[in-house]
């Protein structure tokens, strides 16, 4: 930005707006985290104050971590999210490349068909999906979740990525063809690196709903061995008594991995396209 365009009142106003938004967005998260370190009484009496020497209590974390299976739930969530993400990005990018790069009969129709899933929520098909999983013996496996989430993530991934792939220079791909590259090599070595920021965007959009989902784990994989973290945290919410310490601690812990993944992808987002190849 050039210096001349910055005026003080504008800068102040812009910062005020952004700071207000940040505070609003972070407030619930902060409340969860500070309360997760407090004793039960303190949570109810002074929910908005940070833990002091008296109210500081790790009972929530102790409960969660002693709850034996909690690490397993974590692991399940992690496996499901990472595997689904991998397949969504791989197949999404491949389909997007085909739609963007090759002219074939029904190309547009295929694109529309693949984008349909953006408008129709996959949960509408829950009953059919459950029947399918029962029939194929996949109930209570992580595979079931990975399959469903891959299907859920693909439409948006294809939609976004094919737009970006259309912008990759034809000349570059053709130069690769003349140098004797296979179409796979062109895809993996020339095109994918150039759409990396788009891939990171798609990754973030795909990952968060999967990590947070309660619906499909509850329906398809509620067994002890396949519970995900969001489902596991429900353990502490009872109809009459809720173990708030444990719930808050579980939620705080659940934020961590997804935060790490987000940081990894956002670095890609910021790094941007390796420019200079074309023009």
């Amino acid at each position: 930005m050039s210096r001349a365009t910055i005026s003080l009142p504008r800068t102040v106003a812009a910062h005020a707006v952004l700071l207000t938004y940040t505070v609003i967005a972070l407030f619930p998260v902060v409340v969860i985290i500070i309360n997760s370190f407090k004793s039960r009484n303190a949570i109810f009496r002074t929910p908005l104050t940070p833990p002091t020497a008296e109210t500081f209590d790790l009972i929530g974390y102790a409960t969660v971590l002693n709850q034996g299976d909690f690490l397993l739930y974590f692991q399940n969530s992690f496996i499901v999210t990472v595997a689904s993400l991998f397949f969504v990005l791989l197949f999404g990018a491949m389909a997007a490349f085909a739609l963007a790069e090759y002219r074939f009969r029904g190309n547009t129709l295929m694109g529309l068909y693949l984008a349909l899933g953006i408008m129709i929520p996959i949960r509408l098909g829950t009953v059919a999906i459950l029947q399918l999983m029962v029939a194929s013996g996949l109930v209570n496996t992580l595979t079931a979740l990975i399959l469903v989430y891959t299907a859920q993530g693909l439409p948006l991934a294809i939609f976004i990525l094919s737009e970006f792939m259309k912008q990759v220079s034809d000349d570059l791909k053709n130069a690769g063809r003349i140098d004797g590259f296979s179409e796979y090599r062109i895809f993996f070595r020339l095109v994918l690196p150039l759409v990396r920021p788009a891939m990171a965007t798609v990754a973030v959009f795909t990952m968060i709903p999967i990590w947070n989902d309660l619906w499909f784990p509850l329906i398809l994989a509620p067994s002890e061995a396949t519970k995900t973290i969001t489902l596991g945290a429900q353990l502490f919410i009872g109809q009459y008594v809720t173990n708030w310490n444990a719930v808050l601690a579980a939620l705080s812990l659940a934020i961590l991995p997804v935060l790490v993944l987000y940081l990894i992808f956002s670095r890609q987002l910021i790094r941007g396209i390796t420019s200079g190849a074309v023009k």
Binding site: R103, S169, D171, L172, N174, A175, G176, R177, I178, D179, G180, F181, R189, L190, P193, L194, T274, S275, G276, A277, V278, K279
Partner: protein, 332 residues
Amino acid sequence: MGSLNIENVKKAFGSVDVLKGIDLEVRDGEFVVFVGPSGCGKSTLLRVIAGLEDASSGNIIIDGQKVDAVPPAERGIAMVFQTYALYPHLNVRNNMSLGLKQIKTPADEITRRVKAASGMLSLEPYLERRPAELSGGQRQRVAIGRAVVREPKLFLFDEPLSNLDAALRVNTRLEIAQLHRRLSATMIYVTHDQVEAMTLADRIVVLNGGRIEQVGAPMELYNSPTNLFVAGFIGSPKMNFIDGTRLGETAKTIGVRPEHMTVDPKSGSWKGTVIHAEHLGADTNLYLDAEQAGLLTIRTFGEYRAEPGTTLYATPDPSRIFRFNDQGRTIR
């Protein structure tokens, strides 16, 4: 080695006919330039020759061998693109050598060829740099280098200079001309720049709407265009076309090049008023609104003082007047 035959090549995208039957023979070692207005199918024809696009019908024969089913990498061609199309993640050396590695050329042979090409194009100081760290002219030289190391039978250039500024364009044009002389390779070059076409070509192919209008040496096209289109397309400023009936001629259209007219303040064939004068230093372009002939462009050599509004008489050189019939064909 390095001849090219194009036999009745047609190409349609869906229902749009882009190439409508192209026949062309390019001899070994020839420099052929494709020119034509935007959208006439020059790039498409080049891509069909390269094998990046399949022809709807017709044959491409490189070096006596039919290559319709041969992938681009095995046709013995190299192509230089308008947008350079360098591999962004590789340095200059690897950009040049990647294609050779792909076909398992021995390492010392690769080193030798890269060395020769980078010497020829003065790229030695930049071998370890990435494309992002080069200027436009340097990038285009790398792209040319990448083509040279392949030692192809046939070079294909698609408007390689159009992203460069004027001075660089002249330099790189010279380099391409020297390259052609040194390698005596067959080259096909697409441009819509008059000067590039006239200066580089052994023969120019004028394309229009997916058809070849005329093929010939630059001066042949300039001196005896077969039709109105070629007459108007070759030469700058553009040829003046005058309605034949206004001059009492039998031909439908009369054509005179701006440089084939003289002006005089007192007498001449066509009386007119100066609308505008462009002073280019070496010559002056006069725009004259003539009573009989309509708007005329006249190119006079050297400096010519003429204020807008003055009356001048233009006289065409009678031996260099072109006449065209109803179909736009030249009457000889």
